[in-house]
Symmetry: C2
Subunit: 193 residues, 2 copies
Amino acid sequence: MNRIVTISREFGSGGRTIGKHLAEKLGIPCYDSELLDKIEEKSGLAKEYIAERGEYTPKGGWLATAFADRSLNGLSVQDYLWTVQRKLIIELAEESSCVIVGRCADYILQDQQDLLKVFIHADMPSRAKRIVELYGERDETPEKRLRDKDRRRSAYYHFYTDMEWGRTQNYHIALDSGVLGIDRCVDIIASLY
Amino acid sequence: MNRIVTISREFGSGGRTIGKHLAEKLGIPCYDSELLDKIEEKSGLAKEYIAERGEYTPKGGWLATAFADRSLNGLSVQDYLWTVQRKLIIELAEESSCVIVGRCADYILQDQQDLLKVFIHADMPSRAKRIVELYGERDETPEKRLRDKDRRRSAYYHFYTDMEWGRTQNYHIALDSGVLGIDRCVDIIASLY
């Protein structure tokens, strides 16, 4: 049976980097941006839309877009994206052992026998420093950007899974990458695999 | 500077056992039941009261006991116990490196430089099995006992710390002892020390 590691992470916590390094160390694929390409291919939706709306609630909240969201065979575009994403994640997990970053994979694959569910978080200052290094300055403060991303990611997770995002009990291991550091997080997760 | 490991845990998750084994492995003291003895000595309160009321809200809720709770120099007995407990935990942390289980030590020592904050949890079935082995059967089902303990421990924590008990972001590492097993949890925490 395939062994899957799902990595849920706070924006700016380095969860994506941890996923990449972990996958290299274990010699298995890591699906993150690769997932975007595959979803784009399957769904026919623009990658920007997928990146933004495949993990976050719309900026104005659901209601603001409920009507704007054009309907495809009875589904809103958002729901259509969810179903494509969900199906693809299940296929990838059946294909081979792998690391999957974000996109509610922990929930989607929870009936998978051999699943290691990881959550990565970090203190505000470390995350602020990180996103400015990675994505540069914006008009909004990094803290404001982080709070907004967290709020929308958490709302998205709750909407589709009816579970609380970042709740200790939903993960086998949760790590503070700000204090422990990226490499140590990778080593610990690898030792559990 | 002393290095302190605080272990917060769900009832029946084996957090106490993990603390004991970890302390042995690191060759430092573990304060758990030892803490009860010291608090009894300092406070003059009965150990049963300390065990029950030093970590849990009263069964009937705060209000039920607010008036019954006799007042000592302006403090309720509950608050008096909190101040004694708090002072003792700070003294022990200044004395030597150690492992402290429960009693909001993570919050009380949060300004300590070298603090490793751990949370241990487990799925309901593992915890139910564990408490029946450790404490035997009761009239109430193990699940009912666990839900009650969790609720009252969480309420106590929130009352005195104004923080959310078991929230991922409050700990450096959170582990599912039901899936990972006691020994593996000990090894991981020791490797971080």
